[in-house]
């Protein structure tokens, strides 16, 4: 047997180590992803580079051309949302339109919107039911209250994040950097609206249902082990379009607009109706308003 010298040992081990690193690279491990900065702190060039890299990554992974945009907030825009509870019929179309728009996992079902069935004349959330399944909605003795991320102006989830993976963008939308999130789920524990969802598994998206128009902070496909939530369809709203849930609602119960524009639909709702916000006493200051248009 040949004696193992110090020199040959070092040679062989360094070759092995190099092979591991190179092999790892070819399987998709990406040093650039690993050492990526926080999205908030990136320079415009870095953002472009990151978006390019992600587009390549997703296009390879899903075998189709996927665009990842990084559209920043519009000037003088703060998004607000209003929901007319006397119009909502509880059909859950918004729930599934949202799933389709935002590339949300189907196999392990994740929904950004939970529609709560409430007893008529009662505001007790503890007694609400989001698993209602009658043959026909609306039922006679109940009304429905869809709950999703309330885009708080004083968001508790942002305060507790240990890695600053979630923050409030200038247009008031609380966003998540899926590359930064470590999946500790502190934000989920801190959210009083149960708005945040965790990807326990790699999201299952049927090939024909993939939405290829994505946004870095919005609907790009998530990884396993990261938290996600409603982001007012950033990929649509930052281009000027209505969110998917607004467009699908058959009753026209959902209103969306710019809170800083006095002519916007949302401002008219706030001026003409008595609105309320969920769990106002917690001082989360949501930008999601509920109102009853009919007495």
């Amino acid at each position: 047997m040949k004696q193992l010298t110090r020199r040959s040992f070092l040679k062989a081990s360094s070759a092995g180590l190099g092979g591991t690193v190179l092999g790892g690279c070819s399987e998709g491990f990406d040093w650039a992803t690993y050492f990526q900065d926080r999205f908030e702190e990136m320079s415009p060039e870095e953002v472009q580079k990151t978006l390019k890299r992600l587009e390549k990554y997703y296009s390879n992974k899903y075998k189709t051309k996927i665009t990842v945009k990084g559209t920043p907030s519009k000037e003088n825009t703060v998004f607000g949302y209003a929901l007319d509870l006397s119009r909502c019929v509880g059909c859950r179309r918004c729930v599934y339109a949202c799933v389709d728009e935002n590339n949300i996992s189907r196999d392990v079902q994740i929904h950004y919107i939970r529609v709560l069935k409430m007893k008529d004349g009662d505001m007790n959330l503890e007694e609400s039911d989001h698993y209602y399944n009658p043959d026909k909605v609306p039922e006679d003795d109940s009304y429905y209250m869809p709950v999703q991320c309330q885009q708080c102006d004083n968001p508790p989830c942002v305060k507790v994040c240990p890695v600053k993976a979630t923050w409030k963008d200038p247009d008031g939308v609380v966003v998540v950097d899926y590359n930064r999130c470590i999946g500790c789920r502190d934000c989920m524990a801190s959210c009083p609206y149960r708005a945040r969802k965790f990807n326990w598994r790699e999201p299952e998206i049927p090939e024909d249902k993939l939405n290829t128009e994505t946004h870095y902070l919005g609907n790009r496909p998530r990884y396993r082990g990261v938290v996600e939530k409603c982001h007012f369809c950033l990929q649509r709203t930052r281009e000027g379009r209505y969110p998917a849930c607004v467009e699908i609602c058959p009753a026209g119960a959902r209103k969306f607009g710019n809170l800083l524009d006095p002519e916007s639909e949302i401002r008219l709702v706030l001026e003409n109706f008595r609105t309320f916000r969920l769990k106002e006493e917690l001082n989360t200051q949501p930008k999601f308003f509920y109102f009853f248009s009919l007495g």
Binding site: R241, G257, S264, E265, L268, N272, S293
Partner: protein
């Protein structure tokens, strides 16, 4: 002084600009908000197709041959009937209480006569459904769509 070549270039660019202008203009104006036509509008299924040769009968009655499936139950049935809203002579128009004839596309003017408060909310977009852009052109749904 400019030479012949430069003059020609300038001239043609001017011509191109003039000819392109209407198309540019059209592309911006066509993006305005619009109201989608109802299923049976005067464009896609004109009522006059059948009614043109018929003598209008303004007698309030129960329809038996055609349109017998139309019920306006729950919408002031004993008082209302077809010709309260449809014009007897011009079948492709609706008629308001003041005698003004309006297109099917402007049916909201008809509804507004009784449902003023809802119209007031519909006009700025609080009542009813809208699709499109929150900061620009949108598709506005009618009461009947």
């Amino acid at each position: 002084m400019i030479n012949r070549k430069q003059f020609l270039a300038l001239f043609f660019s001017l011509i191109i600009t003039i000819f392109l202008r209407p198309t540019l203009f059209a592309s911006t104006t066509s993006e305005n908000s619009f109201i989608p036509p109802p299923v049976f509008s005067s464009e896609n299924h004109p009522c006059s197709d059948c009614h043109e040769d018929m003598e209008p009968n303004t007698q309030r009655r129960q329809l038996e041959e055609n349109h017998s499936d139309i019920v306006i139950q729950g919408h002031g049935e004993p008082e209302r009937w077809c010709l309260d809203c449809h014009d007897a002579t011009d079948r492709n128009k609706l008629i308001l209480l003041n005698g003004e004839k309006v297109e099917f596309l402007a049916s909201y003017k008809l509804c507004q006569q009784c449902h003023g408060a809802i119209f007031k909310a519909w006009e700025p977009g609080i009542h009813g459904k809208r699709v499109g852009r929150w900061d620009g052109p949108k598709k506005i749904y009618l009461c009947v769509s």
